[in-house]
Amino acid sequence: MNFTLIEFGLFFLKAFVVVMFAMNVAVILTWADRRQGSMIQDRVGPNRAVAWIPTKVAMVLAVLPALGLAAGVLGLVARTDFEGPTRSFASVALSQLAIFWVWLTGIIIAGRVADRGVKNSFDAFIASVGDPRRFFYGGLAAHFLAFAIGAVYRGTEIGQTVEQAGISAGAGLFAFAVLFGAGYAAYSIRNEPRVGLRLLGLLHPAADGLKTIFKEDFIPPNADKFLHSIAPVIAFFPALVVLGVVPFGDSLCFGADPATGRLAIDQLMTTVPAEGCNGVALPLQVASLNVGVLYFFALGGTGIVGAALAGWASDNKYSLLGGLRAASQMVSYEVTMVLTLIGAFMIYGTVRVEDMVRWQAANTWGIFVQPLAFVLFFTASVAESKRIPFDLPEGESEIVAGYYTEYAGMKFAMFFFAEYIAVVTGSALMAALFLGGWDLPFLRPDGLYVAIGDTVFLQEALPHPAIVAIGALGFVLKTLFLCWVQLTIRWTLPRFRYDQLMRLGWRKLLPASLANVLATGLLILAVQSAGPRVVSALAIVSDLTKALLAVGGIVVGIVFVLFLLKPAKKRRLLATTSAQFAAALGGTRSARMSA
């Protein structure tokens, strides 16, 4: 198998993207685990790490990316000749993006003005609008208005002009809003002596990570120095590479180079048929292996070796106990994990993750055909990542810190980081196997296609790159959602006892997964022996599940927006003299108090 240079570069790029995704999400999870984990206890959490930057530099940092973004969008619009579905899509996307950015900038500035008071005439103008929520309501009205205008004039004589106006005005307005927001931010910090960069507290895990590099690398005197040093690498590496078989988007379709018939990087298709690719497909997946998801488990299983080695090589009884616990726990739950997937293999008829996602895109998401398997797999996956409530190998109340008792500095950080990366990779695999991967309801490769059975409600052609991008974004969001659910479980549940852990694994999850295999087999036999009417009925049911997902997603979005708009409920108490002093100073929240 020989690669062209471009294919090799793309392969490298994909691997880089996947590794960066896993590691960055892991860092964000580390941050969220500490920060949001404090917030659910009504505390702020670690956010003290700060980088002080000079005001002039901060102003440049605020304006420069905005200048680049504005110039990029304007340049793209000026140079590109939009045609067909790409043209109408670009018109809608740019105008909606511009409206979104305008009201977002407005609501942020209005919030700041409401907090710190009116300082100049522009602030006074913003404050005269009143409640900051009005920017949102106005923006919502503008969104609908722009969309309606585009829909009304669609395909008419004026339609071309309207679309062109949408593209030009949208790009112009977006560029202006971006520059204005950045300029306002730069203007409002001009009198500060220096600007503290905190990034929502994200610098805190970064500082913690940097700290571990400079800490002492301690190896116990009687430890096996080689194994002690290599164990964190063995634990870290498989966690990072298992994502290679998980597709993070639908295949990108390129034109073929006429000379060689290979992929031509500059000929990205704008339209593709509903099925397949009429050019050269670039799978958005590092390696399309024939063993598929088994690669995930084969490599993931070697993570056990790292934990067991760390426990054995440390010359410490607690480490040894922790290593034993880790090994037995991970082996136990790995059995459940793979057996759970047998049912999914039987239904999807493949072990390749990309084909599983295709099956789910064509029929329905895995969570509807294998609900029990999803619950079992989720539980086993949490246990597999050795985290609360299954963090027995760490068990600080019983065995100090388990298998990494004798680790410090970067080696400890690698174990720690490997756990978080395991959460990310496990969530990505679950999103691909059970939540449809990059599939979104009614989004086919050729565009929006809302249909139940043979009844088509809405059909709308969209450009191919936009659909792939939306699908990839959907996959990332599904992964983040599953990560977040795992974090929430970690914040809620207490740790199991070790016998409870083993009983759950071997006497509850394992029989349940075997029963799932049996039930799935019977179901498949029943469907195969049933007539074509049952098959067509099932197709309608699968379309209905997609409709349920779409409606559910929209409802959740509306409820979330209503939740955001709801004013905070506070009871004001002025019972103490300190509260009266604080009230006289304007409160601790916005005012800086020195009394």
Binding site: D115, T488, W491, L564, A568, K570, R571, G587, R592, A595
Partner: protein, 221 residues
Amino acid sequence: MADSSSSSPLGPRSVQGKPVSRPKRGAGVQAYVPEIAKGLAITMGHFFRNTKEMAFNQRNDPTLEGVEDGINTISYPEQRRPYAARFRGVHRLTHRDDGSPRCVACLCCSTACPAQCIHIEAGEYPVGDPRRGYERFPQRFVIDELRCVFCGFCVEACPCDAIRMDTGVHAAPYDSREQFIFEKNLLMSFPGRDGSHVTANPRHEPGEASHPGITREGGGH
């Protein structure tokens, strides 16, 4: 206890307990899943509310608003909780109108101090000063804030309202013990919470018209 030990000092004691019934653990509790769901719902409720309020700067003001209503952290150096009106903070020495300390070096405060953290070296006014022989002044006035127990006895003991603890400032953490030795100039530099260095109690110096003097008619000094 006493009865049972006296009747059979060596034998096993009969222990009488109150029977406690085992808690009822129905299928819902045993299955563990509904309880997990309840716990997750509570966690998610706090998560969404607090994240939203942090993002929109709607967060609780812990000094003014009920502690049940959200995040109550005070980001200390930037935000501070004001102390109550009668909080005993770092000491200050009040001033006279001419800017000298009101203290007359009577040593009442250092005598009253249970921690013995006040050190005063008294000085006499020069010959010819009307206050010579009437009162003295502190040449040195030193408080070891690290030894102080903030009991406020010095304030109670002072007959001249010369030492007060109404600065509203707690003793700051320094990085060496020497920095906790507060000398007279430093103590005089702290204002009270009202920003003033004097007190409302008027001072009547000998020789001033307001001084009551030693006769019933208010003169003769």
